[in-house]
């Protein structure tokens, strides 16, 4: 089977969702949706046995072969891991949403369509081998994320958050597209596999660093790295299942995927190692530091997600060092990155679901109002406790293992001596350690402020109680995974991590079995990581205990001195600036626009005509001028003068008709009956139209035109007239290629079965033109109708927003 088609399965399923939602009111639509990720998960799981051996599978759907663009599904260890995350977490999230979103109150039709759209897009991102289709899916994830954040579109904050995430991620996406195009130019292919094969030649290419930076912009905006992370906290306006799915487990990891996927291409660069590691570490610290400031449960989780994404990013950067050094100490980083990526998806997914449950059952997410829920919501508390402790990096939870490996990798950087790392490398473990302390603090802050302590009576909008069993299934499953992975890390490594690591570091490993890393919880008393963790726990506990004393210092940061203020300012500025520029030339008067258009046309055409030396008059090519033509021309000129000089509009309209009829007569004289006929009828209809609208037009002398505007109009009109005349003369005087008329004459009977060439051209030879012309005509007709009807409506009700 062509499994590339499976990427589109969710989109196809989405087509039926609105119907199911409308017709099957009694069953929650989510139950139908649940089948999609579940089937995909089971299907992709069958690939594990193959990728474990280092195998991969390819399936291609040709799209635009002439430009080398196609949909390619390439499944290796890395894309399989992500596919399983997307479908696995997707199943749990859909299950959770069935209980979270009320089937009678919510617009489930919209919700699940967006969610399935996202699922397809995300699968496309992680499986595409073609960078152009990867970009397509990448932007599709941004759009579906936009729709999901704005799902409660009546709320101001939702719309703001949706727009913000869209602006930032689409900006990054466009930069990334630029990077892809540069890569395409360097490698002369859009296939990632072929690019990787050609990568050693790229180093030193003019575009190499530029492509690298552009690609990283895409990855950093998507994965909420500093300073682009600001969209993620605002994205928390989305329904909680969406936050758990898109904004912690999958979409924000697309940037990590991108960095991992392109590591074999860019890791040769010093800039790559510095940027990925440095920005990652900075984000890790920044996110964890500001997470403690937040008071909204989901905001805490959002900042913690930012920080954890930074952690994984820095590990990916540290993993790139293996492309420069063979030392075994650097090998841990990439393994730790993938390991932590899995762990983060499990514990953060469960924490988001718990935050949603708390919100759902108490009516608030404000941590200042919560407290003492432990006895009322024992199951939720247990899951939240497991998740938070894993996040803090404590045993016996999976976060402990990957956190230890993280610290180990950061310590290892000290031994890297290239690229001025020897001067600065001490900073890496220090920042990592400080960030870990804050991670510890916000983990405790999240779980204990919500569930421990005294209940604050009367503060909660609802009487709290434990969530329904169905809602707890998904977080409990994730919680079990968090504990389970701690006890079987090497099995997980064998199935998922090592195939992925082998795919990222083809230079080190031929196949997954070559990855010689064994995860252990205990490294002995002499391991530095252990003492670092002990230090984190001690200092962290101390800081948490004194939290109320120092948390208020966050208030010292001025409100208008932040990245968010910068974003708001930029948005405001661009909106106002654009408005000002538009107002400068948009007067709202059609005649102003006509002047722009006509003067531009005549100036542009005249300049080209003389610059190109194209003005030629060949008297021999002209037709013989007869008596009738002269009489007709005189009539025409008289009629034109009369239009200009007439005192009343009625007279002007009638003389305009006379102008048209004399033009029609010219067609008759020069034997063009079709044109003559058309011109006559058009003239008749338009004169009638003028007469119909006559009584609504202002009197001719009331146009309020000064002599000056009349002069301008006169000059522009003269210019257009001269332009058209000169172009007509030159066009007729020189023929670059033989006329097509003979071809029409020869074929009109045989090819088109007609006799009248003019009409056959219209309906057959150039049927496309006619088709679009009538489309334009229809739009014009409906446009006029719309404008007049709208104006009528406004007369009745001056405020159209009401």
């Amino acid at each position: 089977m062509e499994f590339v088609l499976l990427i589109f399965l969710p989109i196809v399923a989405a087509l039926f969702i609105p119907l199911l939602f409308k017709r099957m009111k009694r069953i929650h639509t989510g139950w139908f949706v649940l089948a999609v990720p579940l089937i995909l998960f089971l299907y992709y799981a069958t690939y594990i046995s193959s990728t474990m051996e280092g195998g991969h599978a390819v399936s291609e759907l040709r799209w635009i072969p002439s430009m080398g663009i196609s949909f390619v599904s390439y499944i290796d260890g890395l894309s399989l891991l992500f596919s399983l995350l997307i479908t696995g977490i997707g199943s749990l999230v859909v299950l959770y949403s069935i209980f979270y979103l009320d089937k009678n109150k919510e617009k489930l039709g919209n919700f699940y369509v967006y969610l399935l759209l996202f699922m397809s897009a995300m699968l496309g991102v992680v499986q595409s081998d073609n960078v152009i289709s990867l970009y397509l899916f990448w932007e599709l994830t941004s759009i579906s994320s936009f729709l999901l954040i704005g799902y409660w579109y009546t709320r101001d904050r939702s719309r703001f958050g949706a727009l913000k995430s869209m602006m930032i991620t689409v900006f990054g996406g466009l930069m990334m597209l630029g990077g892809f195009v540069l890569l395409g130019i360097m490698g002369d292919t859009y296939s990632i596999r072929e690019l990787i094969a050609a990568a050693p030649n790229f180093v030193g290419h003019d575009y190499f660093t530029l492509a690298l930076v552009l690609l990283l912009l895409g990855a950093f905006t998507k994965s909420a790295q500093f300073p682009f992370y600001i969209w993620l906290p605002d994205a928390m306006e989305a329904p909680t299942p969406v936050s758990a799915y898109l904004h912690s487990a999958t979409m924000v990891k697309a940037g990590l995927y991108l960095v991992a996927r392109f590591t074999p291409i860019f890791a040769f660069s010093e800039v790559w190692v510095w940027l990925v590691t440095g920005i990652g570490l900075l984000t890790l610290f920044w996110g964890s530091f500001f997470a403690v400031k937040q008071t909204d449960l989901k905001a805490i989780l959002a900042f913690s997600t930012v920080s954890q994404l930074g952690l994984i990013m820095s590990l990916l950067g540290a993993g790139a060092i293996t492309f420069h050094s063979d030392d075994a100490v650097f090998k841990f980083a990439m393994f730790a990155a993938i390991f932590h990526l899995i762990n983060h998806a499990t514990f953060k997914g469960s924490l988001f679901m718990i935050a949603g449950i708390v919100d759902h059952e108490t009516g608030t997410r404000d941590i200042r109002k919560l407290g003492g829920l432990m006895s009322i919501m024992p199951v939720s508390f247990t899951v939240a406790f497991i998740g938070s402790m894993s996040m803090a990096g404590l045993p016996p939870f999976n976060g402990f293992l990957s956190k230890e490996m993280f610290l180990q990798s950061m310590l290892a950087i000290r031994q890297f001596e290239l690229f001025q790392f020897d001067t600065w490398s001490i900073l890496f473990p220090v920042i990592a350690w400080i960030a870990s302390v804050f991670t510890f603090v916000y983990s405790f802050y999240f779980v204990f402020r919500t569930f421990a302590g005294k209940r604050k009576e009367g503060q909660l909008p609802q009487e709290p109680h434990e969530a329904p069993a169905g809602m707890l299934i998904s977080p409990v499953i994730l919680g079990i995974l968090v504990v389970g992975i701690f006890f079987i890390p090497n099995l997980v490594a064998k199935w998922l991590i090592k195939p992925a690591v082998a795919a990222i570091q083809p230079n080190l490993y031929q196949q997954p079995a070559d990855v010689d890393i064994h995860v252990a919880a205990w490294h002995g008393f002499d391991s530095v990581e252990l003492w670092l963790t002990v230090g984190v726990i001690l200092i962290g506990a101390l800081l948490y205990a004194s939290l109320t004393k120092w948390q208020k210092f966050y208030g010292l940061q001025p409100a208008n001195f932040s990245l968010n203020a910068l974003y708001d300012g930029m948005m405001n500025f661009s909106e106002k600036g654009m408005n000002r520029i538009s107002r400068f030339y948009m007067t709202g008067l059609i005649r102003t626009y006509m002047i722009y258009i006509f003067s531009f046309i005549s100036v542009a055409v005249l300049v080209i005509l003389f610059v190109q030396d194209a003005f030629v008059v060949d008297m021999d090519s002209f037709a013989h001028i007869g008596v009738y033509s002269i009489i007709n021309a005189v009539v025409l000129i008289l009629a034109v003068c009369f239009v200009l000089l007439s005192k009343t509009r009625l007279a002007a309209i009638i003389s305009l008709g006379a102008v048209g009829y004399s033009v029609a007569l010219f067609f008759v004289i020069f034997k063009a009956p079709d044109l003559a006929l058309t011109q006559l009828v058009i003239e008749t209809v338009s004169v009638a139209l003028f007469l119909l609208a006559f009584k609504y037009l202002p009197a001719l002398k009331d146009h309020g035109e000064s002599v000056k505007t009349k002069m301008t109009n006169g000059i522009v009109a003269l210019g257009v007239g001269i332009t058209v005349t000169l172009v007509a003369l030159s066009a007729h005087s020189q023929k670059l290629i033989p006329s097509i008329a003979q071809f029409y004459k020869d074929t009109v009977k045989t090819e088109a079965g007609g006799g009248n060439i003019v009409n056959v051209i219209l309906v057959d030879y150039r049927g496309f033109d006619t088709l679009f012309e009538i489309a334009v005509l229809s739009i014009a007709g409906i446009g006029v109708l719309g404008m007049i009807k709208l104006r009528l409506a406004r007369k009745e009700n001056s405020d159209e927003n009401k």
Binding site: P673, D674, L677, T678, V681, I682, T684, V685, A688, L689, L691, L692, A693, K695, Y696, A752, G753, G754, G755, N756, V758, N759, V760, L762, V763, D764, G767, F768, T770, L771, I774, A775, L777, S778, A780, G781, I782, V784, L785, I788, K789, R791, L792
Partner: protein, 140 residues
């Protein structure tokens, strides 16, 4: 717009049909002699405008109860459908077909899919022109 011109109204009743029939003739003759869907459509519009001038908008709307916006839609669909129909015969988009047939009453007649396309053009022209005229004329 209320007119009460007996001579104009009486003449119009006859002339309208003459113009209309001429428009139909010109439309059908278009493939071999001057004419076609575009002119035919305009001429029909001309006939209708004459009706509008002689009588008022409401009377005409009562006599010809078409929604001209829908006429536009039908015309566009017809034109596009004719063009797209060729795909089903495995020839490129917009390939026309024609042949001679012996029909009762008409005798030897050339039938042409271009005529269907032209009919679409005809309907769009009539529809758009009438939509514009009616909305401008009706904007009181």
């Amino acid at each position: 717009m209320r007119t009460n011109d007996v001579i104009l109204q009486t003449t119009t009743k006859v002339v309208f049909f003459i113009i209309f029939l001429f428009a139909i003739h010109i439309f059908f003759a278009g493939h071999y002699t001057p004419g076609g869907g575009f002119v035919g459509g305009l001429l029909t519009t001309g006939a209708l405008v004459l009706l509008l001038l002689a009588f008022d908008l409401k009377t005409v709307q009562k006599a010809l109860p078409f929604n001209f916006v829908i006429v536009i839609g039908i015309g566009l669909l017809l034109a596009l459908g004719t063009a797209a129909g060729s795909i089903f015969f495995n020839v490129p988009f917009f390939t026309h077909a024609f042949d001679d047939f012996t029909l009762p009453l008409f005798g030897e007649t050339a039938l042409h899919t271009a005529m269907l396309f032209d009919a679409g053009v005809y309907l769009v022209v009539v529809g758009s022109a009438m939509t514009i005229i009616q909305s401008i004329g009706g904007d009181a």
